[in-house]
Symmetry: C4
Subunit: 270 residues, 4 copies
């Protein structure tokens, strides 16, 4: 046991060194330019998530390249509120940048790459430190859907404890191995919590990923308040949640339109 754990740690350390060493990183080919409207949505998602207090100076959002499922797009290492189209970098699914142009990448980009590998249905990924979410990641009280707009939290929200994957760490999902472990915990679900850290949220589109990231946070706060009342709390039943997913599919664009318009109004030159 002890030997196995030490071996895993050695492997992680070596991987980390390799990942951080530019000379050892492959330089993948680009999948080509992206539809400007989609690119704008990615930029806007950075702003919207900040406006909604889902992310602050940290956190990130990515999308799978529309022309190549083996590439994804994400801002360089920068506060999301400051991201413009020029700050978006392209990565392969091992999270090597296609052309970093001398710019730093997020240490935790492996969250995105490994989820895109494991989940062909996922086209957008958000990583948050949302204030409503972190308490649930640190508690043994499970996050559950308390209202219809949180139905995507069914059937359950797993908690990824990095300690189970790699013992004592710096808490960051900063290697492919850790990204894969997180993707394994996420499985086929929409949201996973990360103990002592935050959450990861996935969806088939950017507007839906933003919707889920926001309403995860809202649902968490509502659930906290309901529990604090001291009575019995009734959550959505699983079959109710399943039926409600179609409603969210149908209506979530209404919120996205509102958020996007507000974000664009504040962007210079738009």
């Amino acid at each position: 046991m002890a030997f196995k754990r030490r071996a895993v740690r050695l492997l992680l350390t070596v991987s980390l060194v390799l990942a951080l060493h530019p000379a050892n990183a492959q330089t993948p080919a680009s999948a080509g330019p992206v539809d400007p409207a989609l690119m704008q949505d990615l930029v806007v998602a950075n702003r919207v998530l900040t406006d909604l207090n889902v992310i602050d100076g940290f956190g990130h959002v990515s999308m799978r390249h529309p022309a190549d499922p083996n590439r994804y797009l994400m801002g360089r290492s920068l506060a999301p509120a400051l991201v413009t189209a020029d700050d978006i970098l392209e990565y392969d699914l091992d999270s090597n940048p296609v052309d970093a142009r001398g710019r730093a990448s997020f240490l935790e980009r492996f969250i995105h790459g490994e989820i895109y590998k494991a989940r062909p249905d996922v086209k957008a990924v958000v990583h948050t430190h949302s204030p409503g979410i972190i308490p649930f990641g640190a508690s043994n009280v499970p996050l559950r859907p308390i209202f219809h707009l949180g139905a995507f939290l069914a059937p359950d929200v797993p908690v990824f404890d990095i300690r189970d994957a790699a013992g004592t760490t710096n808490m960051l999902v900063s290697t492919p191995q850790l990204g894969k472990a997180l993707a394994d915990t996420l499985g086929s679900r929409n949201v996973a919590l990360m103990r002592g850290h935050g959450s990861v949220v996935v969806a088939a589109t950017i507007p839906m990923a933003v919707f889920r990231a926001h309403y995860s946070n809202v649902n968490a706060q509502l659930q906290s308040q309901a529990l604090a009342l001291g009575g019995t709390v009734t959550y959505l039943q699983n079959d109710e949640s399943q039926k409600t997913l179609a409603v969210i599919d149908q209506i979530h664009g209404r919120a996205w339109d509102l958020w996007k318009r507000a974000a664009l109004e504040k962007m210079p030159g738009k």
Copy 2:
């Protein structure tokens, strides 16, 4: 029992299909134009409720047509913060649009139509997902008036559980039958909570409906905080609440004037 429930579900499904099928919807006649000042109040109510965080990208507010009690007016399917006079549609009390002009209606407009049918005294209806309210809708702890501005919550606030009306659903009040069941739960009261969803608030005017929607949410948050103190909480007695209703009638315009002015200042072209 099982047969009866299946019959009810079948009926609901058929009704839903019919309601959604334009060819089967009656096209009612219009009750004519509305006083622009009243129309402005309806538009402003959408903005005010958003500014007060009573509604977000979802939620809606309607008013009964001043010239015809069998018609009501409400924004098309759009985030309330974006509603202008041009977005207001007219409906009959079965919630058929008079002239949809190709615009989508809220799936839950039946909340409004069925309450207007059941309650001749009601001239304005608000449907919310307010953050203070949802915890009480999910808890067995009843919402009660904790200060004078919440007196309209007396004598009690019922909770509508859609499961009691129709078993497993998508949580939306999206048929006349569900709207009627909600109206039945509301009865003669001012506010009803909706389990796992939000609330419905009614009044004889738009300013009073907005007042009640806002102070329902405020009262809920104050009650949560009072309960969290861990001591005994004293609520308004029913006879106190009854006497306080006249005070609210007298003073609520002071808040409306403030909210309306702030909303108008932010509206373009006003």
Copy 3:
């Protein structure tokens, strides 16, 4: 007992009728114009208290007339955020307006008049429905100073229950008798809570009254959070609070300067 209570109610009803009937109200003489700088502070206090979320569309702030201790000044019945110098009315200590100029007065002006009668040291009064405060007014958990800026809450904060003074009411301090009962409960203290309603805060200057109204609300929220942690809470000892009062005297102008500047920047034509 029953007879006495009925007699008291009759007396209150008659008093209310008389107070509301203009023909029976005395028209007192004015104490003359007020230093514009002081008048500005009164107007600004209305804005500052709104900006600090201490008051909303309701609540009021008054000051004793600097030239005549038997007069006080307060805005007409209007949301505080909208008050300008032109909206300030002068009252005698029975709360009769000197010259109402056809404008409505606050129903609860007797809070102010009766406190000015009972407390010659008081030059400014604030009446609030602050969100931190109302839970303590409804709970048997006492509000206590949890940090140095709440030291003025020592030695204790009484709770005025209008039911004790007048049985079932509309919750408003809308007669001289109720104002006097509230002043009696306040005694020589700086703050009194009002069950199911809000608070009253007094001081020798407008900046100090605003300071105390704000930090009452802040202290209440901090105390709520400390209690929610579930451990033992240590409050300021009375002798610590007494010593700290001199500190607050010395430093409270620093906050007032900041708040006033921010409020003036937002006032049109200033």
Copy 4:
């Protein structure tokens, strides 16, 4: 015992009188001008901490003089949101101003001077009354790192009770002796709470001090919410926190860049 305590109090009183009496204060020599970029960071830190709701009209931030470890720089007695470069005063480590230019100094500047004396590694100090922090200072529930961005709270956060140092006081750290007692409680840590008052936060740079002041407050609020859920809470282990410190070193500039940019945009003439 009683004699000793009285002697300590007498000494404190005498010291306070001497400290407040300009004639007895030494006038130290200046260490010379400061790099304008660093000076701007100090000014900006005042604004950022206000924007983040870490400080309000009170609280302060200082930096050690880059040219002389025996001098430090801090705003005059003024609300931090109003501080400009012209308001920055220079002090020796006994907290005597080099040239007060007739301006008042913070009564609690000894917090800064005594910590700079005791901690050569510290180059920036923040004193806060943060809303998340005060409940923990008043409670026996310890503040602990609940997420990676709070790792600097390890291994523990001591609580300074001024009563232990000097019996009944006005709660202010207004003498060198009290400053030294606080520095002793802080020891080699990054953060100390102050019972009934607030906190002190230290770092090797201004951006890191601001980061720690903000995320102390955030961590406190997250921990409160996690405790309120009623389950078991898992904190960062000490070895996790130690490893995470290097991450924070690496990434904290990303938040500072965002905060600084937003603050500069709001500063007149910038």
